[in-house]
């Protein structure tokens, strides 16, 4: 299992200050920070990051199934989970699906994974929350992703059982044509939704499992924390101390992904033999009960929520956030008019290189190279058809040369790029990301991250490639 939270944390005080002229009442929400996607991040890139954190746990799992849960998938019709699977270089004999349509997307996906017999399933939840400027939601949500695998081997927690209710309560909605939610009154949602439907589901589950509420050690309610969470716990007769404090303060609620983030976080803090109840709410409710195993401590080795939260940097630039979120239309000049059409035929041929960051390794001279070509690049070798696949995505890199370019087009100027040095005498000209101006230097250590590379506004398309980011400390 693993988690990913974008590096930028927009201070809510900065949001409140920007709106003070019109909505001084929002000042009270101006505490803590909200995780925001950078200009080159979306659900797919965050999902890849979380899934890599999950796979990087040391056991090198290779799932049979990959489910991507989100309500903010970048493509409505091009399977997003397939892109994630190819970025992870998972084998092609993989069942993939996008699960969407509700704040319960992640718990629904998790249930599908758990009901997958003995086969291993990776469940990834990611959300890039699009909110209207000046809305309450703008303060409460945040962008993040989490991933975990289900299966029979090396279980950190056993799935005990679940209960679901499907009920069309429109606490908020977003039509297929709309960019933002239309949210109803919080008090109504709390009193008639959360406080009714969640306890009802929990009670049904406990009854089904012949368990009592005292046996619940942790209660995780996606998207709910603070007083409402305590009230729900009380209504369920669960000790309020069992309630997870939620992620609203440090990063914001990550929509449907919140459930997986809470579960990852709870497992990392858990002791063996604990009962963890996970609740997802949205047009009904999913309640899932897990019991941690003797090896649950291994969860602490993963890159989880705490580590992901700790990797953030404060950001006070609300206007930049608006631009990243597409809420303000900055004039990027005539350079932005360049036709950026993608040759899908060229992409299809080269997608292992582009999506999987797979290059070549010459069997003859041992030199790694990207892209993989018929002829080895080593001037002292030059042999034909001697290269095996070599994955660059997991390689560490070093800055060999760099620049901060204020002329080239970037939606987050300056465009930073340069030569990156890898092992086996390979080097690639790459874009840097997650660096601020002045932070790059020759020799800086790098890790590879999957990001949006280019936008094609004319055709409503964007494409992905790998960028070099600061190595994790």
């Amino acid at each position: 299992m693993g988690a990913y939270v974008p590096r930028r944390r927009l201070l809510r005080s900065a949001i409140a200050t920007a709106h003070a002229w019109a909505k001084p009442g929002l000042k009270g929400l101006g505490k803590g920070s909200r995780a925001i996607c950078s200009h080159d991040e979306d659900v797919i890139t965050m999902a890849v990051a979380a899934a890599r954190a999950c796979l990087g746990g040391g056991d090198n799992r290779s799932p049979d199934r990959l489910l991507l849960a989100s309500t903010s998938l970048p493509f409505a019709d091009r399977q997003n989970a397939t892109v994630v699977g190819e970025a992870l270089n998972l084998p092609e004999d993989l069942q993939t699906a996008d699960i969407s349509g509700s704040q319960r997307a992640a718990t629904s996906a998790l249930l599908l994974g758990l009901q997958h017999g003995g086969a291993e399933c990776m469940v990834v939840g990611a959300e890039k929350c699009l909110t209207r400027a000046g809305s309450v939601e703008e303060f409460t949500v945040g962008d993040a992703a989490a991933a975990l695998t289900t299966g029979e081997d090396q279980q950190l927690a056993r799935f005990i059982g679940s209960h679901s209710i499907s009920r069309d309560m429109v606490d908020h909605y977003r039509t297929a044509q709309s960019d933002h939610n239309y949210a109803l009154e919080e008090r109504w949602i709390r009193d008639c939704g959360l406080m009714q439907i969640i306890p009802e589901t929990v009670a049904a589950l406990l009854s089904k499992l012949d368990m009592s509420s005292e046996q619940i050690d942790r209660l995780l309610i996606a998207g709910v924390d603070g007083r409402p969470a305590a009230q729900i716990a009380a209504r369920c007769s669960i000790d309020k101390m069992a309630v997870h404090e939620g992620l609203k303060v440090p990063i914001g609620h990550a929509g449907s992904a919140d459930a997986l983030l809470l579960l990852v976080d709870a497992l990392q803090a858990a002791e063996p033999g604990q009962n963890i109840l996970l609740v997802g709410f949205g047009q009904g409710c999913d309640a899932l009960l897990f019991q941690t195993t003797e090896i649950v401590h291994r969860a602490r080795e993963s890159h989880g929520v705490t580590a992901a939260i700790a990797a953030g940097v404060e950001d006070t630039n609300y206007l930049r956030y608006l631009s990243f979120a597409g809420l303000v239309d900055i004039d990027w000049g005539m350079r932005a008019e360049r036709d950026n059409r993608t040759s899908q035929a060229a992409f299809y041929r080269g997608r292992r290189a582009i999506t999987g960051f797979v290059g070549g390794l010459c069997r003859d001279c041992g030199v790694a190279q990207f892209p993989k070509t018929a002829l080895c690049v080593n001037p002292n070798c030059g042999k034909q058809d001697t290269q095996d696949d070599e994955v660059f995505a997991n390689k560490a890199g070093q800055v060999k040369s760099f620049t901060e370019d204020w002329l080239a087009l970037s939606l987050n100027p300056p465009l930073m790029y340069g030569s990156v040095r890898f092992d086996r005498q390979s080097t690639i000209m790459m874009e840097f990301t997650d660096f601020d101006p002045g932070e790059l230097s020759i020799g800086s250590k790098l890790q590879m991250v999957f990001r949006i590379k280019d936008f094609d506004p004319l055709r409503g398309y964007h494409r992905y490639f790998w960028k070099a980011a600061p190595a994790a400390e």
Binding site: A346, V377, P379, S401, D405, L407, L415, S419, M429, I442
Partner: protein, 400 residues
């Protein structure tokens, strides 16, 4: 190695348009402006031209594909015309085509024309271009200054030179070019600048500021070449200028994908200049060359080029530059016409514009810029980026 074309091709006429923001005319007219001067200089009739080469890089901004635009603009007598494109080496590539045609005996008199109309794009800087359908998928959306700026960071790192010191030498390069450009009526920028102005200019791509970057302009330049024998028949034996060497080196991906090159210079410039010196029979370029016209698209490019051409020792270019070695009154004047810095860089024209300056200097026609009796000069173009490029070198001198 082949015997080469040393002294097998003579230049009997050259022309160069006024460079600058030529809102007044299109590329067709720029070519004609250069050609009129060239034809008058050569003292021949247009019908005597047997073949022509057109160098044009960004055809989509001006004349479109093919060679027809040259034939049509000059109303050439239906001779074979070939359009060439090789990034910033395009102008020199046109000369290479014409020179090889003459050297091979395929024709007696050939025209090399280079032109570019950059200012019709509607914005500053070079137009963006595709790297190809596959490379666009992964190669960063770089700009020219950003790509060359990396030379500076790698050079400073390699030679352990503080960036302030390097920027000071780079500022000297730009200052020197403006000093020269101020004396050239055909230059785009004819103003003098101070080093302080260079150092305090807005940053374009760290560490290159505005004045570390050459201008963008429109222009054309051309040459008429023939054999020395034909030149004599045409009465052009006196002060005959001939081509001593024309060489090209093209990256094969090693700098870009194989971690041997250190990023601090252009590998191809080393290779091309060595080949050119060999072709021209030069063994001590620092002493034998009287002038050089190098590709100062950015100040750092000129700086590292002095080492790649073997004129400054490795790591010594900063000192040589600030000591004035390459100033107009220095030991080896560099970019005495003002360089790309003051002419701007209409890609197709630049290589031929450089040859034009050497040609004028060899004929003693360089006005206030005139050097003392030069006999041998070198031009250098670097097309593309330091990590993947086309480098062209020409060596031009008085016919022996």
């Amino acid at each position: 190695m082949a015997s080469g074309i040393k002294d097998k091709v003579a230049i009997i006429g050259m022309g160069c348009s006024r460079f600058g923001e030529r809102w007044d005319c299109g590329a067709e007219h720029l070519m004609l402006e250069a050609f009129d001067e060239c034809l008058a200089d050569a003292g021949i009739e247009k019908v005597q031209i047997e073949a022509a080469w057109l160098g044009l890089c960004y055809q989509e901004q001006s004349l479109g594909k093919s060679s027809i635009s040259l034939s049509q603009s000059l109303r050439l007598p239906n001779v074979p015309v070939t359009r060439v494109e090789n990034l910033c080496a395009t102008g020199t590539e046109a000369l290479r085509g014409a020179a090889y045609a003459v050297a091979s005996g395929a024709c007696d008199i050939a025209l090399a024309m280079g032109v570019e109309k950059l200012k019709d794009t509607g914005f500053g800087g070079l137009p963006s271009r595709t790297m190809g359908t596959f490379e666009d998928l992964w190669f960063p959306g770089v700009s020219a200054p950003g790509s060359f700026a990396q030379l500076a960071s790698a050079y400073a790192h390699k030679h352990n030179i503080p960036m302030d010191q390097l920027r000071d030498a780079m500022a000297h390069v730009s200052w020197k070019s403006h000093e020269n450009g101020a004396l050239n009526p055909k230059a785009h920028l004819k103003n003098r600048i101070t080093k302080e102005k260079v150092l305090n200019a807005p940053m374009i791509s760290y560490p290159l500021g505005l004045f570390d970057c050459c201008g963008v302009s429109d222009g054309a330049a051309c040459a008429i070449v023939t054999t020395p024998e034909m030149a004599k028949k045409l009465g052009r034996a006196a002060n005959l200028v001939s081509i001593k060497a024309l060489q090209l080196a093209v990256s094969n991906g090693a700098e870009m994908f194989y971690d041997e090159w250190d990023g601090s210079h252009a590998m191809t410039a080393e290779l091309a200049s060595k080949r050119a010196y060999s072709e021209a029979g030069i063994n001590d370029p620092k002493r034998q060359l009287d002038m050089v016209e190098v590709h100062d698209c950015f100040s750092i490019t000129e700086l590292v080029t002095m080492e790649d051409l073997g004129l400054s020792a490795s790591g010594q270019a900063c000192q040589d530059i600030t000591a004035g070695v390459y100033d107009r009154d220095g030991a080896l004047p560099c970019n005495v016409d003002g360089g790309l810095k003051c002419f701007g860089h209409p890609l197709g024209a630049t290589g031929l514009r450089m040859v034009y300056e050497i040609y004028q200097q060899l004929h003693g026609r360089a006005g206030e810029r005139q050097l003392d009796d030069p006999t041998l000069g070198l031009t250098h173009n670097l097309g593309g980026f330091p990590n993947r490029n086309v480098c062209s070198i020409s060596i031009i001198g008085l016919h022996e």
